[in-house]
Symmetry: D2
Subunit: 168 residues, 4 copies
């Protein structure tokens, strides 16, 4: 039996580090190869754009949830870009729509998504966070499934195990 | 040049009339044949489910925006089902994400979507509405592009003309 | 025992008719005199502004839910103006926060609020609607408590009876 | 000239520490004494309930934004309790409605509010955070006005200076 999971790939936009962009691209590809769906914040920048590009390159579905009222700043690699008109409340919708969250890099928007994910008890994995981010976010995760990894492949392996566990 | 348009197909769920379900199925198919994206309220019922099934039958993309926090009541024919957790506020998101709205049948939720669509000046087409619905909703449409039609094919023809006009 | 009810007073903004503005002012006053709370769409225009002014004149609480991100266009008579940043999705929040809805005049935004209210089975009263609005909106109200009245006093009498009924 | 500011007081609910509850009560009182408005997450628990009680004790206005569809779990000390029906997206609305945010204690929901506040460049003050919370959240605040304090009085002094600065 195959399980379709929806994975939100979150991280900085314009200020994303090169490393985070490379990781997000690879994660989008790995999600797509499993037949899973990539969700992003939709914009044509940084981690959001990279995850969509990675998913597309592997023939997968990538759906973006934009904060604004139109698609003018949507990533061109999305299968579908949905303008929510909700502003920053779209972060909560992105997390609600996802079964799990992967973060590549950190900024305030990313932290809001990670914290809402652990609050909702959704598996949350951080790729190469700083020591202080890893320590603090682990401390608030409490009982939620939470992991820090060094590579996209480890992130996916961990998520696959969580998704399988959730269906048993 | 091809334009990708996002069309929300709205209408009753469990209480949808057989006619509305047939029309929604055909509209989903026609949207898909143009390479456009079908948006629905996501649930496995009535017009929402029919539009997704029609789109899928023609190999198109159908995306549903669910009011709740999980996908338990999602239509099985959706390409992606997004739980928004927003309750009825998801109707506003559905309209914001859409370039145009087609209504097959009427209930209070549908009326909220039609009214938000005309408020946002988005092309809105009603398939076989009752005379009182047609008269009243036309009266509030004011300057917004608004049309009443008898068949799915007419709905699509009208939408195609509107979408082309919007890009010139 | 006293019951505090939250009543949303909805209607057009800049395009409100003089009659609707007068009715909304009186309704705000009548809500305040009962010790109830007036909710509005928050803007400094039309029915929203009038209901807040009426509530304030009688020493009542009036709270506005604005669509935007700041209070620059808030009615000055509100006890509190809350920027939601949700755009038109704030209409759904306004209805969810209310126990009942009174409409003075009609435009698309108002119709979205009336339809969401009857969908949520909340008492909904229209003051002096046009015959076509009254007929159509009554037709979608289905089993929801729905009334058409000629005066603000009748609107309040009907709401008081509904609120008392709801607490027995 | 007097400036009315809206201050969101955020922190844990059922799991709030005694200290955080005491601080939130005092902060609600200090906000009220300035004639400002206290905003909370609305529930009858922890920091939310304490801030409302403190504001009420000083005759101030306290408004709660609840995640659910009714007021059954609202704090009894609120001037008004607004059911948003938005689930966790109400955190974003709470921050948008506020001019500044004070956090007493930390949990995932609180972190989502702090991070959205610094993202929106709103003054954000943490009362007695743990060293790791203080360090990490300061690191994401970037250019946003951000402060760590030991007492409610210091929190208010800092906020007053920020609000005055914002109006000059």
């Amino acid at each position: 039996m195959s399980i379709v999971a929806y994975i939100a790939v979150v991280g900085p936009g314009e200020t994303a580090a090169r490393d985070a962009i490379g990781d997000a691209t690879e994660i989008g590809t790995l999600i797509a190869r499993r037949g899973w769906i990539t969700l992003t914040g939709g914009r044509r920048a940084g981690v959001m754009a990279a995850a969509a590009a990675g998913a597309r390159a592997a023939g997968g579905l990538a759906i973006g949830l934009l904060p604004g009222n139109d698609r003018s700043d949507a990533s061109p690699d999305l299968s579908a870009a949905l303008s929510t008109g909700l502003g920053e409340a779209r972060n909560a919708v992105l997390v609600t729509a996802a079964d799990a969250v992967v973060a590549c890099g950190i900024n305030p928007g990313t932290v809001s998504e990670i914290s809402l994910a652990v609050r909702a008890n959704k598996p949350t994995v951080l790729v190469k966070p700083s020591p202080s981010a890893a320590e603090f976010l682990a401390s608030i995760a409490d009982g939620a499934p939470f992991q820090v990894v060094d590579t996209p492949a480890e992130a996916l392996d961990w998520l696959v195990a969580r998704m399988i566990a959730a269906h048993h």
